[in-house]
């Protein structure tokens, strides 16, 4: 017996997991790994921003904290990669708790919250760029040493399956939350804080829980990134690019919906690749497409691709019923 909402998650995961059986192109796996990493970071955003309604413009702070924690523990202290992963996820959760505590207690919402998250991310970027621990402007290189123990895989399909396992876990966790009391509270906070309070919802605690879970998920994405590319610097880790990716994917796929980030990430990057194949080497052309898609989605389909599909399905089924 599969609970409510899990069937599509399992189907999508199986579909992606089956690709190595029919596809052997390395560029496909490079593409898919990057999309999965972005989908994981975006699932973190979706939990806080999509389900909880707290729009963050600075999710790179969690991505960067994850990536740097994992690489610093491995390069400076020789800690095992999997232990570093656990520590990095914990660090992401803690960072979420701290930023959440400071900003939600100060009552920051909407645009103010978006700006303060952006400022935290930028602050970390400047610090990481200047500090010796993080390798300064040169960044940190992870020693190439493939093997399961080091969470490094020379086979791209294997790494893709690892990233997929993370994404699958994030999807299941999100679905569990959506089906739970905490999920209902989170949505209530998004819809109307005062009404939620009156119904006994501890708004601050709910937001703090959401932002720490969100930070943990996005931090895990940062770890995957560094385990795959074996390199990190301040511009990648705390750059605005990943904050934007983490926000765009759920917006386009369907904010607040469990599969939204994954669908959105694949759609956006699929479009990006197609555009690149037409426009050639024009820099920034994929981001131009992303930006236009974002504006069009907000203008015409605020609940994203999944929202559109749901609307179509509803219309179809109501016609059948009539």
């Amino acid at each position: 017996m599969i609970g409510r909402g899990y069937l599509p998650i399992i189907l999508v995961t199986l579909l992606i997991a089956a690709t190595p059986l029919v596809i052997s192109s390395n560029s496909f796996f490079n593409f898919t790994v990057l999309v999965l990493i972005i989908a994981l970071a975006a699932q973190g955003w979706n939990l806080l921003g999509g389900i909880g309604g707290q729009t963050s413009f600075g999710h790179s702070m969690f991505f960067g904290i994850g990536a740097y924690t994992a690489s610093m523990l491995q390069t400076h202290l020789g800690v095992n990669a999997w232990l570093s992963l656990v520590a990095a996820i914990a660090a992401g959760a803690l960072a979420g708790l701290i930023v959440g505590f400071l900003s939600f207690r100060a009552g920051l919402r909407g645009s103010y919250f978006a700006l303060v998250t952006l400022a935290f991310a930028e602050l970390l970027r400047v610090l990481a760029n200047a500090s010796e621990l993080t390798g300064g402007a040169a960044g940190l290189l992870l020693k190439l040493d493939p093997g399961f123990a080091n969470m490094q895989f020379s086979s791209r399909p294997t790494f893709m399956l690892l990233a997929l396992a993370f994404v699958f876990a994030s999807l299941v966790i999100t679905q569990k939350i959506v089906n739970s009391r905490f999920g209902a509270h989170l949505v209530a906070v998004r819809e109307n804080e005062d009404a939620a309070k009156a119904l006994g919802v501890d708004v601050l605690t709910v937001k703090l829980k959401a932002i720490s879970l969100s930070g943990a998920m996005t931090a895990a994405a940062g770890v995957l990134y560094v385990q795959y590319f074996l390199y990190i610097d301040a511009g990648i880790a705390f750059g605005i690019w990943i904050s934007i990716e983490a926000l765009l994917a759920p917006m386009v796929g369907g904010r607040g919906m469990v599969l939204g980030p994954l669908i959105g990430a694949f759609t956006l990057h699929g479009l990006g690749e197609i555009t690149k194949s037409f426009a050639g080497r024009v820099p920034g052309i994929d981001l131009i497409v992303f930006a236009i898609v974002l504006i069009v989605v907000i203008a015409f389909a605020s609940s994203g691709i999944l929202g559109l599909l749901k609307k179509l399905a509803d219309r179809f089924s109501s016609k059948e019923g009539a």
Binding site: N179, S180, R181, A184, H185, V187, A188, R190, E191, N192, D194, A195, A196, K197, A198, L199, G200, V201, D202, V203
Partner: protein, 253 residues
């Protein structure tokens, strides 16, 4: 069971509630009336914990709750509705009520079932799948009531649930309120519809310009000089008395 003692609420130089006290008896329907701007909704906000009074104390069953957060008060058994309805507009009716039901039922299936039961109680069972945003005014008022009720409160604060309804809708909802009380929930209601106050309330408090100016049974309060003057202006009580004396003692007598 619910006591407000000498509550005062100042906003800068403005005193919205001035040294007001009230005492709600368990199992009663108590009314809180008063002209517009008297501070009724502010007093409700103080009771539900949305505003911290400048001075004074609130207690429930003798336990001081003056400094408790709103969600803690909901757990203690105080539920409120909002004068301007605050539905979770993106959710359907059932999901709206379920948020309230989660307060006492952590298990999703229990909360969903409880929400269905409450919907039946307030007459929303046919609208469960409707979006909250698509409800009529009367429907939204019922939803507001249902959500609060789903928290299984000991005392329910109703802030003008009848305002904006037509006479037949009011007639429909009055028995619902009475049934709620009969199921053991104490009710404190702000109301402008006097017919409903006279009909439902056993005890009425009158707030005017932040001060509690009268209390008693509905009939006593309605004939109170201070109350009439608060509503109709100074000297009006005397004028009305004179007029009715003239009418009864007119030329035909």
């Amino acid at each position: 069971m619910l006591k407000v003692e000498n509550a005062t609420m100042r906003f800068g130089g403005l005193i919205a509630v001035n040294n007001a006290s009230l005492d709600v008896r368990e199992g009663s329907i108590t009314g809180l009336i008063g002209p517009n701007g008297a501070g009724k909704t502010t007093l409700f906000a103080i009771i539900a914990g949305f505003l911290k009074p400048t001075e004074g104390a609130i207690s429930l069953y003798g336990k001081d709750i003056t400094t408790e957060q709103p969600h803690r008060r909901a757990i203690s058994g105080i539920a409120r509705t909002f004068q301007i309805v605050q539905p979770f507009a993106g959710l359907n009716v059932h999901e709206n009520i379920t948020v309230g039901a989660y307060l006492r039922h952590a298990k999703p299936s229990d909360a969903v079932e409880k929400a269905r039961e409450v919907a039946r109680q307030v007459g929303l069972e046919k609208d469960l799948e409707k979006s909250a945003a698509s409800l009529t005014v009367a429907g939204r008022k019922r939803l507001e009531l249902a959500r609060a009720l789903a928290t299984e409160p000991k005392i329910l604060l109703l802030d003008e649930v009848l305002a904006g309804l037509n006479p037949s809708e009011i007639r429909d909802i009055i028995p619902v309120i009475r049934t709620i009380r009969n199921s053991g929930v104490t009710i404190l209601m702000i109301e402008h519809v006097m017919q409903a106050v006279m009909n439902l309330c056993e005890h009425v408090y009158v707030l005017a310009q932040g001060k509690m100016i009268a209390e008693g049974t509905p009939t006593v309060v309605c004939n109170d000089q201070a109350v009439i003057e608060a509503y109709l202006g100074k000297g009006s009580a005397e004028r009305i008395a004179r007029q009715s004396a003239e009418n009864t003692g007119g030329p035909n007598a």
